[in-house]
């Protein structure tokens, strides 16, 4: 596995610095993310995990005064190249947020919203697409009879799986998840973890989490961040059993954070 690194990488950052105005939130991040893998980003609050995640699909563009230095190469192309359309980038790199954020629309319209507006699916295919996406997100059985009902009436865990289904309906290459289970109960969390395990057969997943067990359970590689720097990036097993850096060990064992 270690050898074919290069062939399987899908997105990587090269010497990336990130600024919110004058505040430098990320320093010199160089990181490869591998195809059909789950990569976990961990680290204490405020260390820049969300910043990095949002940088990968240009969601940080929305923040006034934010600035990126360095390159983010998605299949070899720098997504910060002036000629690149951020809208197109986000089509290929989907995102699931910490708090479930369905639209105040029906379940069906939530799923089909993206494909319909971006023209990535035919009208006649929408129903099949909705079913497929909901099945992928393991929500189909719970909602198949109430597709017309408002998504706001679902439970938090169901809403989050709906948001995952909504992202999957765009058939992205990469799925970014920012603490997707932090607002959920253990059962919903377990469901989403199972789901991630299933999804990684098709998708590349990058997930931010504060839950060490979760990172250990679901990820193949883990990156540990501290105050805007990537301290250690290694196979998850190594990080959690025998990390190279003392700081990583201290964090994982809860000695600081």
């Amino acid at each position: 596995m270690e050898n074919d690194h290069f062939d399987t990488e899908i997105i990587k950052t090269k010497n990336v610095n990130f600024y919110y105005g004058a505040f430098k939130a990320l320093t010199d991040i160089t990181m490869n993310f591998e195809k059909r893998n789950v990569t976990a980003l961990i680290g204490p609050s405020g260390c820049g995990k969300s910043t990095l995640l949002r940088l990968l699909n240009r969601m940080n563009d929305l923040i006034a005064g934010a600035r990126v230095e360095g390159e983010v190469l998605f299949e070899g192309m720098n997504i910060y190249d002036p000629e690149v359309d951020p809208v197109e980038v986000r089509r290929r790199i989907g995102m699931v947020f910490q708090k479930p954020n369905p639209f105040p629309k029906s379940i069906f319209n939530n799923i089909t919203y993206g494909p319909r507006l971006t023209g990535t699916a035919n009208k006649s295919d929408l129903e099949a697409l909705a079913e497929q996406s909901l099945k992928q997100a393991v929500l189909w059985d719970e909602v198949k009879d109430i597709l017309g009902r408002s998504a706001m009436t679902l439970s938090g865990g169901q809403q989050q799986r709906l948001c995952i289904a909504r992202a999957l309906a765009m058939k992205p290459d990469i799925l970014l998840m920012d603490e997707p289970t932090s607002a959920l109960d253990p059962i919903s969390t377990a469901k989403i973890e199972e789901l991630i395990d299933e999804l990684k057969k098709t998708y590349t997943i990058i997930i931010v989490t504060h839950n060490m067990q979760q990172a250990a359970r679901i990820s193949d590689k883990t990156g540990f961040f501290y105050i805007g720097k990537l301290i250690e990036y290694n196979a998850t097993e190594k990080i959690f059993t025998n990390p190279d850096v003392k700081q990583t060990e201290d964090y994982i064992t809860g000695r600081f954070g």
Binding site: V87, E88, R92, P104, L117, R166
Partner: protein, 293 residues
């Protein structure tokens, strides 16, 4: 502190609080009484002349008899015209200010300008309408000129209400849509605007309700002293309720004689404005019930 002084302090505070609430309650009662009194006075004096006849026929006998139908219709035309012009313009301006423009000095300056505009006396709008629409653009005294003038008058209200409503749409909705690779413009059109619409409509309708009762802006731009014939096009003059009251109460030779008609007209005007407000309130409560975020 001993128990005695503690309870003493508490009693004093309790008393103060009572006095304060008493004062608040009193001023609320006075306000309600004043409002109720005005309304009562209008109804008592106006109700005698109200009849189907009064609402559906034109004035006769130098406006000392007959109804006020042309004025009702004129006010409706002017108000509808104003909102047709001002609503799209105001919403577009608000979208620009909240969603597109870089939040900085220029936007702040525009906001201050809009707020100042909202504070300008309505007669100034009337004079502007006279100079610009009636004379310069040669619309003459007409529905068009009056509606445009009223439209400008309520534009700040509509922009303000729309901005508030747009800002009220959770940022997470925008993010969710953009993260799906939907363009900014489509995100605004499909997500932001529909969710802001109840607020926009409520604010705008309340604004237009106020404008419907204004005399000064239409006095020089649209309102006719008297026309028995109904307008045939937007370039015709119309009668209007507030101006009709003004005319009857000040300019006629039969001021005392027409008192009942004046009160009747005022009653109709008040009912119209309250009716418009009621529509806004209904829209708001209906949409609130539907909204779940």
């Amino acid at each position: 502190m001993t128990r005695q002084t503690v309870s003493g302090a508490m009693k004093r505070r309790y008393l103060k609080q009572h006095l304060f609430f008493g004062a608040v309650r009193l001023s609320a009662i006075i306000l309600t009484l004043a409002l109720g009194g005005i309304l009562f006075y209008i109804i008592v004096n106006g109700i005698q002349v109200i009849s189907w006849e009064f609402l559906t026929s034109p004035p006769t006998d130098s406006m000392t008899k007959g109804g006020i139908m042309p004025a009702i219709l004129g006010t409706l035309y002017l108000t509808l015209g104003a909102i047709t012009v001002a609503l799209p313009l105001g919403v577009v301006a608000a979208i620009y200010l909240t969603e597109y423009a870089k939040q900085g000095r220029i936007v702040r300056a525009i906001r201050v300008g809009v707020n100042c505009l909202a504070g300008v006396p309505s007669v100034v709008f009337g004079l502007f309408g006279l100079g610009f629409f009636v004379v310069f653009l040669k619309f003459g005294s007409s529905i068009l000129a009056g509606a445009l003038t009223l439209g400008i008058l309520i534009l700040p209200t509509i922009i303000g209400a729309s901005e508030e409503a747009l800002k009220g749409v959770p940022q997470t909705f925008r993010e969710a849509s953009l993260a799906l690779g939907v363009s900014k413009w489509l995100t605004i059109w499909k997500i932001v605007l529909p969710n802001a619409l109840p607020g926009i409509l409520t604010g705008s309708i309340l604004g237009i309700g106020r404008a419907a009762g204004e005399t000064a802006p239409i006095m020089f731009t649209a309102a006719a002293f008297f026309t028995a014939k109904l307008p045939g096009s937007i370039f015709d003059e119309v009668m209007a309720l507030p101006y009709h009251v003004y005319v009857l109460a000040t300019a006629g030779t039969h001021i005392e004689e027409t008192r009942p008609i004046q009160f009747g007209t005022v009653l109709v005007l008040v009912a119209l404005v309250l009716g418009i407000d009621l529509i806004a309130i209904i829209i708001r409560s209906y949409m609130r019930r539907k909204k779940r975020w």
